[in-house]
């Protein structure tokens, strides 16, 4: 697939990295910053074009005439929207994805339209899919706060199924037990462990695998059952009441807005004017003006009784430091937004409970559109090493999936069919389950290099 990525910012670079490492994609990145592009081209096998991403001549240079997809990820909503418009009007590019940050645009019905099913009057911006990384990350953090104890909570099939990553803790009833005993522990719950990570490596979960303290366990379960499974892997934890958010930027503010009705929220913002402004939009959140790495301030605000401390400023280093400080001062669970994969790796194994990598959270929503086969959703896990894919099974005769039992489907190494969603029902993927037409099949891949093999299965 020929893909043009507009904008070589944080999100654009990650997208380029993920897309270019798949042999089938030809990636061109457009940005105004020459230096960024040169640096990017040194590392990835892509083409770069310097210039304004919305200008027709630049898009033409980038190969828009033959491109299958334009992904507009610049930091300006307006440039992204215009770029999609130009790509559609002049080049008839089929798929146009834009990053639209502002709620003022996304909140309006009918402003954007999908060019595969255009409105009769053809009015609006031809943006097939818009994504808001801030929104996605905010939702993700919200889920992490709600399911305290989870490292990752990912949704499939419109939220009917969830994939949860949990660190097993001594004292959880299942810890130290064989995996197959999960049936005895939870007779009425259908859950499936799809992967276990131990000391950096992955273990293929089998019936006699014993869960150990410190393992990262990924399981799939229907949304209503997930709490029951989590309790099996960790001691019961108190429900979350008090949340402290460090950083009142885009994500901090959105997060506070979403959760302030459910928890007691305090938000620390460094810039006084910004603190004033967000305090006006928030109802019950206490907005504090100060430095989140200021020990006095944290103690003053009873950090030791906080259930969750969440550092979401723009500066990852300060997120790391303030989260570590909060942990030392007694915050129960600390999370930090960390961009660099290397930092995230270092931190999650040590002093910070959850390292949130905004890129790998957002990249999934992009990847779903690049995949061949009818792929609904892709989640990137373990910093891009593993992937969970939700695909729809199609095709009557000769299909590699439909009409076959799970054990008959030829999956690549390290891949497991976790669950099948049929209409409203969630069925766990047992060896004798037969896949039917229209089923949403959730496949978990411990090694993303086999992604193409899985795609091929779901291609007609």
């Amino acid at each position: 697939m020929k893909i043009i990525i507009l904008g070589a910012g944080q999100v654009g670079r990650t997208a380029a990295y993920h897309l270019a490492r798949e042999e089938a994609n030809d990636v061109t990145v457009v940005d105004t910053n020459d230096h960024l592009l040169r640096d990017l081209q040194d590392r990835l096998d892509i083409r770069t074009v310097a210039g304004n991403a919305a200008h027709p001549n630049i898009l033409e240079l980038a190969g828009a005439a033959t491109a299958d997809m334009v992904v507009a990820l610049t930091n300006s909503d307006e440039v992204n929207m215009v770029a999609c418009q130009v790509a559609w009007t002049l080049f008839r590019t089929r798929t146009k994805i834009a990053r639209i940050r502002s709620l003022a645009y996304t909140g309006h019905e009918g402003l954007f339209f999908d060019t595969d099913s255009p409105p009769p009057d053809g009015a609006g911006f031809p943006v097939d899919v818009y994504i808001s990384p801030e929104e996605i990350v905010t939702q993700y953090i919200e889920r992490l706060i709600r399911y305290s104890g989870a490292l990752q909570v990912l949704e499939f099939a419109d939220g009917r199924v969830r994939l949860v990553g949990v660190k097993a803790v001594k004292g959880g009833p299942l810890v130290g037990q064989q995996l197959r005993s999960i049936r005895e522990h939870l007779p009425n719950v259908d859950a499936r462990v799809v992967a276990i990570y131990r000391e950096g490596g992955s273990i293929l979960p089998e019936g006699d695998t014993i869960i150990q303290h410190g393992d990262e366990v990924f399981f799939l379960a229907a949304t209503e059952d997930m709490r029951k499974v989590m309790v099996e892997l960790r001691r019961v934890e108190d429900a979350v009441k008090r949340v402290v958010i460090a950083g009142g930027g885009n994500i901090g503010l959105r997060l506070a807005q979403r959760i302030e009705d459910r928890y007691q929220v305090k938000l620390i913002e460094r810039d006084q004017a910004r603190a004033r402004r967000i305090s006006e939009t928030l109802r019950s959140t206490v907005v504090l003006h100060g430095d989140a790495a200021d020990e006095e301030l944290l103690i003053e605000e009873n950090i030791d009784s906080a259930d969750v401390f969440c550092a979401v400023t723009n500066a990852e280093e300060s997120n790391i430091l303030s989260a570590m400080l909060a942990k030392r001062l007694g915050a129960h669970r600390v999370m930090a937004l960390i961009n660099r994969p290397a930092y995230a790796e270092m931190m999650q194994s040590g002093s910070i409970d959850v390292a949130i990598s905004p890129q790998s959270v957002t990249i999934g929503s992009l990847l779903a559109h690049v995949r061949r086969g009818d792929v609904v959703r892709v989640h990137s896990l373990r910093r891009g090493a593993a992937e969970a894919i939700e695909a729809i099974a199609h095709g009557a005769r000769g299909s590699k999936v439909v009409g076959r039992r799970v054990e008959e489907i030829k999956l690549p190494k390290g891949a497991t069919i976790g669950a099948i969603v049929r209409g409203q029902d969630v069925i766990m993927g047992h060896h004798d389950t037969v896949v039917e037409e229209g089923d949403h099949v959730i496949v978990f891949l411990t090694d993303r290099r086999h992604v193409e093999a899985v795609e091929r299965l779901f291609q007609d």
Partner: protein
């Protein structure tokens, strides 16, 4: 520096190169000239060495880094020079020393076209064919061929591509994937070569000569099957076909690709470098004609026109074909043409020299300094095709020019130290560093008489010229090796 990764790729490249020994075997058997043994032996030796180098490192999966790229390319060109010499050395005819074989092989691969062989007309056809093939492979770059054939070079392929591709700006890819870009370049190269061979056939060459000379023309090489070079054919039609394809070969192949794909042939004229190159060629040909006319040595005006244009284009594009004894032309003219070869062809072409775009930038900067003297506070960017050229590129061009002149001086003095006269030393280094071929004085026809040390200096100059100096010289700096 990941030596294992370098070793693995070197091994692979050698195996790829060994395959190029097979076509001459076919030629040898077809014409029954009895030289196939040498090529088969060379083939076996190269495959064996390649596999032996590759085996211990085959499991290494590390990507090439930027630095490794320079290392691989330089090492490979050095190894290639020796490997390519094997069949020449092994074959009973020509009976040459190792030095001469390596000189000939490097001269071929770097598309220089300087030869130490005398009596080409009597050599086995497979050897003649092999020399032309060396030029053709070296023209677009055997490493770029390898990048096109071996997709697993991946990102590392870019660093190899950059180290081998001539020109000041090397980041422009024709297609997003480097493998594809390399493939496209080769497709363009092969098509132009085929067209050139067809042209020669129509102009009356026999097929063997047509293909061989097409190889050397499009590669801007200059090897011929005959001691008299293109002059052997004594045909105006052949000369004009040669002029056309020397011009085509000296234009950026990326430009050929974009012009053909879009079907817009005004792209040639709109590209500032190509336009400057064409103007330069027209101007130089006109000047040569004028000079010859005024000197009045010729009886036949048509002959004069053909010789003048042919020789001007051949020398200025750094091809090095000859039709007449141009070194006997009136005083300033041979030196003028030799100086023109310093400008050479366009970046990203198969030609040598400083490259037109660099010279264009140097001239523009000179002009800027003049304007600055008049308007001391003016902001004057250096522009190329309506776009400002980044300071980094401008700096790099100056740096390159300085090093080029420096290297030229040192090598020329070294040549004189071996006992050669100034004209010979000057022209020999100019002709080898610019990948031109024939010089003046003692090296006007061939390089057989310049002595072993002189030949090795020329080998070095040819490699420096083909790899645009920096790629090679960087290996001799402390910074490169510092951890």
């Amino acid at each position: 520096m990941s030596f294992l990764a370098i070793q693995r790729i070197l091994g692979l490249l050698l195996v790829v190169f060994s395959l190029t020994m097979l076509p001459p075997v076919g030629v040898s058997l077809f014409y029954g000239d009895g030289s196939h043994g040498a090529f088969l032996a060379a083939f076996a030796a190269l495959v064996a060495i390649g596999v032996l180098v590759w085996l211990p490192a085959r499991r290494d999966r590390r990507d090439l880094r930027l630095r490794d790229g320079f290392m691989v390319v330089t090492l490979f060109w050095a190894v290639l020079g020796i490997a390519g010499a094997l069949p020449l050395y092994l074959s009973p005819q020509p009976a040459v020393s190792a030095t001469d074989a390596i000189f000939e092989s490097v001269s071929g691969l770097t598309t220089t076209g300087a030869t130490v062989l005398v009596g080409l007309d009597a050599l086995p056809r497979s050897i003649l064919y092999y020399r032309q093939q060396l030029q053709w492979l070296g023209g677009m770059g055997i490493i770029i061929l390898a990048v096109a054939l071996l997709p697993m070079l991946g990102v590392g392929g870019m660093s190899l591509y950059r180290a081998e591709m001539p020109g000041p700006v090397k980041d422009t890819k024709l297609t997003p994937r480097i493998t594809q870009t390399a493939r496209m370049l080769w497709v363009v190269y092969v098509s132009i070569t085929a067209a050139c061979a067809a042209g020669y056939l129509l102009a009356g060459m026999e097929p063997f000569d047509a293909v061989g000379h097409a190889f050397a023309t499009v590669a801007i090489g200059g090897f011929s099957h005959y001691d008299a070079s293109i002059g052997q054919f004594d045909s105006r039609a052949v000369e004009m076909v040669a002029v056309l394809f020397m011009l085509v070969g000296a234009v950026n192949f990326g430009l050929h690709f974009t012009a053909w794909r879009s079907g817009r042939f005004d792209a040639y004229w709109r590209d500032p470098e190509c336009a400057a190159f064409l103007k330069l060629m027209v101007g130089l040909s006109a000047l040569t004609l004028l000079y010859l006319l005024l000197a009045g040595d010729y009886d036949d005006t048509l002959q004069l026109a053909a010789d003048g244009v042919f020789q001007a284009v051949s020398i200025a594009t750094t091809t090095g074909f000859t039709t007449s004894h141009f070194h006997h032309w009136p005083a300033g003219l041979p030196v003028l043409l030799l100086f023109a070869s310093f400008v050479g062809g366009c970046a990203g072409s198969t030609a040598g020299g400083l490259k037109v775009v660099r010279c264009l930038l140097l001239v523009k900067q000179g002009r800027r300094e003049i304007v600055r003297l008049v308007h001391p506070t003016a902001e004057i960017p250096v522009q190329l095709g309506g776009r400002a050229v980044s300071l980094r590129v401008v700096d790099a061009v100056w740096g390159f020019f300085a090093v080029y002149v420096g290297v030229f001086t040192v090598l020329m003095l070294a040549m004189m130290a071996t006992g050669l006269d100034q004209v010979t030393a000057f022209s020999a280094i100019a002709a080898t560093l610019n990948n031109l071929g024939p010089g003046l004085g003692e090296v006007a026809l061939n390089y057989a008489s310049i002595g072993t040390v002189g030949k090795w200096i020329c080998v070095l100059a040819m490699l420096l010229g083909r790899l645009e100096i920096f790629t090679l010289i960087i290996l001799f700096t402390v910074t490169f090796w510092r951890k």
